[in-house]
Symmetry: C2
């Protein structure tokens, strides 16, 4: 079988490999790039004790304006991933390419680099903006077919990607073994970033809005996967866009286990993510590597 | 006394602070920006046991095209610096500003972002390009006067910055307690990058060239500070620009302790640096924190 992946970069890192691949996405109807970190265990199988040399996958969804590169270059996650024997897959944050419409006003908080990990229903967005199906189905199927990884998955992300991670886990019971988020947009249906995106993607069908809102989804979740959230209290987007208190209230009302850690003095940057990524990787590993 | 530093960024990171400062450099005759990481011990003094709360400083010199930001964002060094109680100072890689001449052809390997950490003697370069004096004298004096650090210093760097670190240590006995380098331009007087820069900075005064060449300086060094060098064997600049074998030969001839670690499969990127930065920080800490 011919590979669907074209490798465009490969860097040795902590005894494993950081690689970038280009591929055609049928779901998004465009070419996409994603990054992967394969720990040393994925090559030799020696440290993991697995004869196959296959490792579970931690999916990372990045925030507004990011690509597959930000997390891989700035989070300092590979050291712990190599130690634990976990692969990392980082998709892009939206469909891309000359045929994909961006923000009509050229803004950075909608469209290209800002797909919000939903399946849009309104044109011109619905043709390409199906990041949820891409992240949850198409990309894992491709990764699991072509790279040395198992079908054990977990998911995390930052800001818009934190929203994406929570929604992916809450909408797809049984698909992920662990979930966490950094400074997520936990209640997008009630904040400006989310309102702008959802109005374009779904129009005034507010029931659809709630299908992509973690606070609403928590009330319906049948699977009670424990959620770990870190949030800096000096984050300039905290009050207007992030509202972790709404997420916490929804989790409490639903009896859903959520640990919200307010981190004093931390902002919205990758310096914040790097400071706590090891905790998240250990949280994910406990579930991914359990017998 | 009024501060000479204007803080332009501050991010909480691993319990300490990443900060960026702008200041006027008299040596370089322009405004400069540098970055610092202050570990938690620099605030409280608690973990270090030092009443003053002052910590030693690891200076990092970056490579061609970099600024103060690359290492701080991509090396993943803060985690270990916070654990060890060591500050990091990362200067820019050249003088900057509208009055500073860059490469006449607009190339990226000379001039702006490519100051080679020397004191130029030829105009139009000599007026601004005095990065050696800036890095060795002016910046440490400023940092030690205004930030919670001691005068215990060590120095490391990457590529052009690896060359800079070795030259700073070899030319200034007693000034640094430890030195190391990642993929350094160890013999600049004999490779294209160095030849281009040195011809412009010093003309055909080849004796001056050797004053800034680590291989030549090793032959004259009175202080035998042990040198740690990591070099990827898949580095695309290895044979033409880096020539670690020349450095090793010069160290052997001089009886200078040098550990050259050839790292199989690693390239010239920050993925390589991140993979081994902890080893370097421990190497520096052993000297910086010794009684």
């Amino acid at each position: 079988m011919e590979s669907q992946l074209t490798q465009i970069a490969a860097n040795r890192c902590f005894g494993g490999w950081h690689k970038r691949f280009r591929h055609r996405s049928a779901v998004l109807d465009c070419n996409m790039v994603f990054a992967v970190y394969l720990p040393p265990q994925a090559e030799s199988g020696a440290k993991s004790g697995a004869k196959s040399g296959k490792v579970p996958v931690f999916y990372w969804l990045s925030g507004l304006t990011c690509t597959d590169e930000n997390f891989m270059q700035k989070a300092g996650a590979m050291r712990m991933a190599a130690e634990l024997g976990i692969a990392i897959v980082a998709p892009d944050t939206s469909p891309r390419g000359p045929d994909v419409p961006g923000d009509p006003d050229g803004a950075w908080d909608f469209g290209l680099g800002a797909g919000f990990y939903v399946n849009a229903t309104r044109e011109p967005w619905a043709k390409h903006y199906r990041m949820h199906d891409y992240v949850v189905r198409e990309l894992p199927a491709l990764v699991e077919a072509e790279l040395p990884v198992t079908d054990r998955r977990s998911i995390s992300g930052h800001s818009m990607g934190g929203h994406g991670a929570l929604v992916c886990a809450l909408r797809n019971p049984g698909r992920y073994r662990a979930v966490s988020a950094f400074a997520p947009i936990g209640n997008p249906a009630s904040v400006p970033w989310g309102e702008k995106a959802f109005e374009r993607f779904f129009g005034t069908d507010y029931a659809a809005w709630l299908d992509w809102d973690s606070c609403a989804l928590l009330g319906r979740a049948t699977e009670k996967l424990p959620i770990l959230v870190d949030q800096g209290d000096a984050d300039s987007f905290l009050e207007k866009q992030l509202k972790p208190e709404n997420l916490q209230r929804a989790a409490e009302a639903a009896g859903h286990p959520l640990t919200l850690r307010m981190q004093p003095g931390y902002d919205h940057s990758y310096f914040f993510i790097a400071s706590f990524i090891d905790d998240h990787l250990r949280h994910h590993a406990a579930a991914l590597l359990a017998d």
